[in-house]
């Protein structure tokens, strides 16, 4: 489906006729740790695919558990979002964006923001 410009795209290719495979994540907006919501398992698959979540069991539950919260926090760090650990609107909007299929975290390591040591971790507390 190659087109020289947007105006040359036939109506059958416009948004009303297409769906983003991640659109269902919209309904998870506002979810936080401790909740159980339909669709969380699919979100965990998303985070697993991009390297944020390990899968030790072979499948995922719909529980918003500690591992998912940590994954969300790392994702938020990598994309310069507020590190809340919750699926706030800005985080869900970022997740919905089309993206490269290469994982952000490979074999558990990354030098994106979540893999960097922040300066305050080197400071000495009073």
């Amino acid at each position: 489906n190659f087109f020289p410009n947007i105006s040359s795209i036939p109506p059958s290719f416009l948004p009303n006729h297409t769906t983003n495979p991640w659109d269902t994540f919209n309904k998870l907006s506002g979810c936080r740790s401790g909740q159980k919501v339909d669709g969380i398992a699919k979100l965990k698959t998303y985070f697993h695919y991009f390297g944020y979540l390990a899968n030790t069991t072979g499948n995922f539950s719909d529980d918003f558990d500690d591992a998912l919260e940590a994954a969300v926090k790392n994702y938020q760090k990598n994309f310069n979002l507020n590190t809340t650990g919750e699926l706030d609107t800005s985080t869900v909007n970022q997740i919905l964006k089309p993206r490269c299929g290469v994982p952000d975290i490979v074999n558990g390591t990354t030098t994106m923001n979540s893999g960097k040591t922040t300066s305050f971790q080197h400071s000495v507390a009073h």
């Binding site: 020289p4 410009n5 947007i6 290719f13 983003n20 089309p98 993206r99 299929g101 490979v106």
Partner: protein, 197 residues
């Protein structure tokens, strides 16, 4: 910028790399020209050169458009979602989702999100970064930032991209501006800017 684990890169004896398109795609010259432009974004700042050859099997980098499960355990998911993926050196595979609506000529204006159309050169420049050994970056304006909105054209390397690729391959001896694009220069070019790392 980031690198893949182990920092894989093309060996120092191989600076003149070749690429070819999967002949089954029967791509037009217009589409091939988009990739030539995308490769030139990287050769501008490095000693690497890229030549399109017709022999797909012998090319260093192989480019193809595929749908769904296409044999590398990384199936595409239809319109939007994941757009493309590429493998670190020396694998040299660049795959794009055939289901996307690809724009090959038009200059988008930022925010024209009324379409699901994706700019092909923008995605190609990003994936070539992977072919050369770069991972993803948290710098929003970097080419190697993982996401791109529909209807957005983003093809110029950010300073973060240039610094990363020059760690792997050094500078282009024919390019005097070897330190990479500066914040000020990019602002003058009219590219929309956000934060810079």
């Amino acid at each position: 910028y980031s690198f893949f684990p182990g920092t894989p890169r093309w060996p120092s004896r191989r600076r003149d790399l070749t690429y070819a398109f999967d002949p089954r795609n029967e791509l037009s010259e217009d589409v091939k020209r988009v990739f030539a432009n995308a490769f030139s974004r990287w050769s501008e700042w490095t000693p690497l050169t890229f030549t399109n050859i017709s022999d797909y099997s012998s090319a260093d980098m192989k480019i193809g458009f595929y749908s769904g499960d296409h044999g590398d355990d990384e199936p595409f998911d239809g319109v939007l979602g994941t757009l493309a993926h590429a493998f670190a050196p020396p694998t040299g595979l660049l795959h794009l989702d055939n289901a996307e609506t690809w724009i090959i000529n038009d200059v988008f204006t930022s925010g024209s999100s009324s379409s699901t159309a994706m700019d092909l050169e923008s995605v190609a420049v990003h994936e070539i970064g992977h072919l050369l050994g770069l991972g993803h970056s948290s710098v929003e304006n970097a080419i190697m930032y993982p996401t791109i909105a529909s209807g957005v054209k983003k093809v110029e390397l950010d300073r973060d991209d240039v610094e990363g690729i020059q760690v792997l391959y050094g500078t282009n001896p024919e390019n005097n501006g070897t330190v990479g694009p500066s914040f000020g220069e990019r602002e003058m070019s009219g590219v929309a800017r956000g934060s810079i790392g």
